[in-house]
Symmetry: C2
Subunit: 330 residues, 2 copies
């Protein structure tokens, strides 16, 4: 491994000078600079980021902690964060927690130990209770899911409004017996259920049913299956995330029911499959690119100004009306 010493020796200067050239810190004589640059090129020298990080007590890395990279929402977020970070010369350490609070703790600690500059985190409910007193000594931006009583920067969706709008859309199209299926792992499920219930109430209705299950395809499948085989069947299923939507979709197909003729289906988040099936699925599209970019933005703002008060950015979802919730036939 060629180090800064080798370069210094080759260029006939001190390591301090090499360091200055690298950091572009005047004063430096153009001529010296040349010599150093030549030596660097010659030796194919690359600064050791670990040493740099140890010395500087920070690094150009940010940690991204999400529950499941296979969830298209988080995949998209990951991509957006990666792109935004890349532009600023930062790289991303991506961590999967599997909705498991232990893994969350483990990764948060790891990131700390790795000297990351900042963390973008989407916490589970369990984490929020179990680690209520967890102290973020590294600048952290929460996304998608909020934490109570934490003074932290956040980028969230206006979940209540979005769910309200989605429910109103179902109502406007003639659905009346609407079952709600919500994720139980984070704050988004309860918030979206709130909007759902509010909309129904505002129209003098009540939910056909309200259920909270783990945000997995199979949970969505089981829950929806139970609904469909009941004597009294809903005419629409409202799901709070794409895992549940997928599970419900599978269940509906299993029962060979027609969408939306026999049952409508709506949910959250853009997925490929939701666009490709016939009819395609009506969803609230989250601005993933914007969420990711904003999170990175907020992080950098905090890095440059550690003392400013916490800021919460709330973004609006975008209702994509599609076939799965078309006007109900008489």
């Amino acid at each position: 491994m060629t180090s800064i010493k080798d370069v210094a020796k080759a260029a006939g200067v001190s390591t301090a000078t090499v360091s200055r050239v690298l950091a572009n810190k005047p004063p430096i004589r153009p001529e010296t600079r040349e010599r150093v640059m030549a030596a660097i090129a010659e030796l194919n020298y690359r600064p050791n980021l670990v040493a740099r990080s140890l010395r500087a007590q920070k690094s150009a890395k940010i940690g991204l902690v999400v529950s499941d990279i296979r969830n298209p929402f988080f995949t998209a977020i990951g991509r957006a964060v990666e792109d935004a970070a890349y532009e600023k010369g930062y790289s991303v350490l991506m961590c999967n927690t599997d909705e498991n609070p232990e893994k969350e703790m483990l990764y948060l600690n790891l990131l700390h130990d790795e000297n990351v500059a900042g963390i973008i985190f989407s916490p589970t409910n369990q984490f929020c209770t179990q680690a209520a007193d967890f102290h973020f000594d590294i600048p952290t931006v929460l996304i998608d899911r909020s934490m109570q009583n934490k003074e932290a920067d956040m980028v969230l969706l206006d979940n209540v409004s979005a769910a309200y709008e989605l429910t109103e859309h179902l109502l406007a199209n003639g659905y009346r017996k609407i079952a709600g299926l919500f994720g139980d792992a984070s704050t988004t499920g309860p918030e979206r259920s709130q909007g759902f219930k509010n909309a129904l109430k505002a129209n003098g209705l009540s939910p056909f049913s309200v259920e909270f299950v783990s945000p997995r395809i199979r949970s969505g499948f089981s829950a929806a299956s139970a609904l469909l085989q009941g004597a009294d069947c809903p005419d629409a299923i409202f799901t709070s995330n794409s895992m549940l939507t997928a599970g419900a979709f599978q269940a509906i197909r299993e029962f060979k029911m027609n969408i939306p003729g026999e049952i409508a289906l709506v949910g959250f988040d853009v997925t490929e499959w939701g666009e490709f099936v016939d009819p395609p699925i009506t969803v609230i599209a989250q601005p993933t690119e914007e969420i990711g970019r904003t999170a990175v933005e907020l992080l950098f703002q905090r890095l440059s100004n550690p003392n400013r008060s916490a800021r919460t950015v709330i973004l609006k979802g975008n209702l994509l009306k599609r076939g799965s919730s078309a006007v109900r036939a008489k």
Copy 2:
């Protein structure tokens, strides 16, 4: 930041002793050990991984370099690698290259600079030509895509056989005018086209067409659209990766053609949408979990034995026969 010194002071021992306790390196008196552990707990001390890495000249991180995390194949690989690494106490630095050789170089260098223990890498064709002389001084396992003339560990699919089998399946079900759409960014496209052509030849047929395009949905869409609007239209489209399959699917839908009645569609890789559409899409399923785990396995074997000769593991794809290639109606 509490360091090893603070612990040493609190426990009334030297830093060396603390270090030994941490590393569980005898000899150490149980009593001393106790005192140190107590101090660690008391101070809430966590070792600084950066310092450790600088000192040890390595770290418990592995780099994963893939072209697009949104490609479900790579998402699945990422998950598998992450899980396997986690079990061994390693964390994963996930890097997106966007099929861009510059980004590939950049990330490879970054990983080097970060002192990662090893790299799992899926290179583009361009990288292979442009960086033919790139020297991997860090243990590296190539996955999905091979590199010529490189003595490196690899985990690959038997692409030729898989494509052969997939093509035979189409032939067995009565399709004769089969268009091939292949990715041009890596070695998989050419290899799969080989199996495709071999199978046709073995049956005294030739391809309806063979085309290489960039592995993006929109490229698949354009290429397939062109095929479908021709005066002479294929009766099946064979795609070499799920991005192209998705593009072709969109094109077919745009043309309001019936699958498989008017045109069959087959491809590679399991996707959610491919299972959910009606009829679902026939594909070669790659054993992503196994690929990821094997890559990590190979990496650790090399770490513990740097001099053994390179090993290539070739896995078999699994043909999932589904409706999109059902027996052709007369």
